[in-house]
């Protein structure tokens, strides 16, 4: 029995993985790859892998590049979700991906921290947000048979704390990067006010621990 899904190997997927690998911490990179694997398992669980708009390469692009905005290529002049979406779109355009597909990946990344909205913007945006959500311990039941193998291949390395650190560092660079009532704005505010954030507190209760 196959334990974990394979990663796509076409040139777009390889370039996306290489961009994430070369600009993100290992912890954030592993989080991004796991998010893809969880998203595939969720798609299989919901029987949507034969839907016309299910595309594993675009799903890989969106999940693996969703945190480019906290990596070394992001400038901190806009929200990290937008800077990541722009960097991802730039890579896809360079690989001659169609405008429509570039827009879908851009949107999936731009709204991946928007609960109640991302789930309504089509299969790609839905699977991207929910795949990331599983890495925070939501819907953990769905992946219980594969989670050990996946975590062994791609260890967590204190994912939540590392990611919150990176988001806060990015958000602190400009007012536009950290508006109120957004994930980056609220995490920055909570870090400054209390030291610890609700996202980190919630992680302590998650099935993955961090």
């Amino acid at each position: 029995m196959r334990t974990i899904p394979e990663l796509p190997t076409d040139p777009i997927a390889s370039a996306a993985l290489e961009l994430a690998r070369s600009t993100e911490s290992e912890s954030v990179l592993n989080h991004s790859v796991r998010s893809y694997l969880w998203a595939v398992l969720l798609a299989e669980h919901e029987n949507v892998t034969s839907d016309a708009d299910y595309d594993p390469v675009l799903l890989f692009a969106a999940t693996v590049m969703h945190d480019l905005g906290v990596g070394s290529r992001a400038s901190g002049q806009q929200r990290f979700e937008i800077e990541g979406a722009d960097l991802a779109a730039e890579l896809l355009v360079a690989h001659a991906v169609s405008n429509n597909d570039v827009d879908r990946v851009w949107e999936a990344i731009a709204i991946h921290t928007s609960p109640g909205i991302a789930e309504r913007r089509g299969l790609l945006a839905y699977l991207t947000r929910e795949g990331i959500g599983i890495d925070f311990g939501r819907q953990a039941d769905i992946v219980r048979n594969q989670q050990q193998a996946i975590h062994a291949h791609y260890p967590r390395l204190a994912m939540v704390r590392s990611l919150v650190d990176a988001i806060v560092e990015h958000a602190a660079r400009s007012e536009a990067a950290a508006p109120r009532y957004s994930i980056p704005g609220e995490l920055l505010h909570e870090r400054r006010q209390h030291g610890v954030t609700r996202m980190e507190q919630a992680a302590a209760q998650s099935p993955w621990g961090d």
């Binding site: 806009q78 929200r79 979700e81 937008i82 949107e107 731009a110 709204i111 928007s114 609960p115 109640g116 909205i117 309504r120 536009a176 990067a177 508006p179 109120r180 009532y181 957004s182 994930i183 704005g185 609220e186 609700r198």
Partner: protein, 225 residues
């Protein structure tokens, strides 16, 4: 830069008139007035930034997005999702019933669903951006220094505010109180709920000591919260 327009006329298409009528029929006056002002302020701020209606953006789509954007706070539009998305769905249904093509419905849906998403909405297209500008100006005064002198007074005289910021916060917080899934953490509706319905703090040690009846008093060096 283009010059300010001072206009207070509204788009006059049958669809635009129907949308305005619909909003006034199902909304409290403070919501309907806010929606209408958001369009006027959006158009004026767009002009101040050099953007012309029906050249740089679709004027009717901005009007529809602004006019319909708060249907989610009305009883008519309230459902099980965050109010922005409930409002986007009710608006999309209204537009489809009036034969509006799907691409135009989609723009309005996005503009409404993202209208509280600061730092995202302005990147989704001209109509979404101008809708966000207008709503932001009316609700929290964003860019109001760019409005022509006296324009806001003129608009407020015709369509009064009725303490909008507080009235809207109450409606949204009450919806979340009745159905917590409407206010996910770290979102605008979630914040309003937290503000209007603060969690009662647990009893502190000093309250226990104070209730003991032994008249213990804080020492000079004790900092009480």
């Amino acid at each position: 830069m283009s010059s300010p327009t001072h206009r207070i006329d509204l788009p006059d298409s049958e669809l635009a008139r129907a949308a305005k009528q619909f909003v006034y029929d199902v909304s409290p006056a403070f919501v309907a007035h806010h929606s209408l002002r958001s369009y006027l302020f959006g158009r004026e701020l767009a002009a101040a930034k050099g953007l012309q209606p029906d050249v740089d953006y679709d004027d009717e789509l901005v009007f529809l997005s602004c006019m319909l954007h708060d249907l989610g706070v009305t009883e008519h539009g309230n459902g099980d999702q965050r109010f922005e998305v409930d409002g986007a769905d009710v608006s999309a249904r209204f537009l489809r019933e009036h034969g509006v093509p799907e691409a135009r419905v989609s723009t309005v849906w996005q503009a409404i669903a993202l209208h509280t998403s600061v730092g995202l909405a302005h990147r989704f297209g001209a109509e979404q951006a101008i809708t966000h500008l207008g709503i932001g100006a009316d609700i929290v005064g964003n860019d109001k220094h760019l409005l022509p002198s006296g324009y806001a007074d003129h608009v407020h005289a015709a369509w009064p505010r009725h303490d909008l910021g507080y009235a809207l916060a109450e409606l949204i917080a009450d919806q979340v109180q009745a159905n917590p899934q409407k206010g996910p953490p770290l979102t605008f509706p979630g914040h309003l709920h937290q503000l209007m319905y603060p969690v009662t703090p647990t009893v502190t040690w000093f309250e226990v000591v104070g209730a003991a009846g032994w008249n213990d008093r804080p020492r000079a060096s004790t900092t009480t919260p």
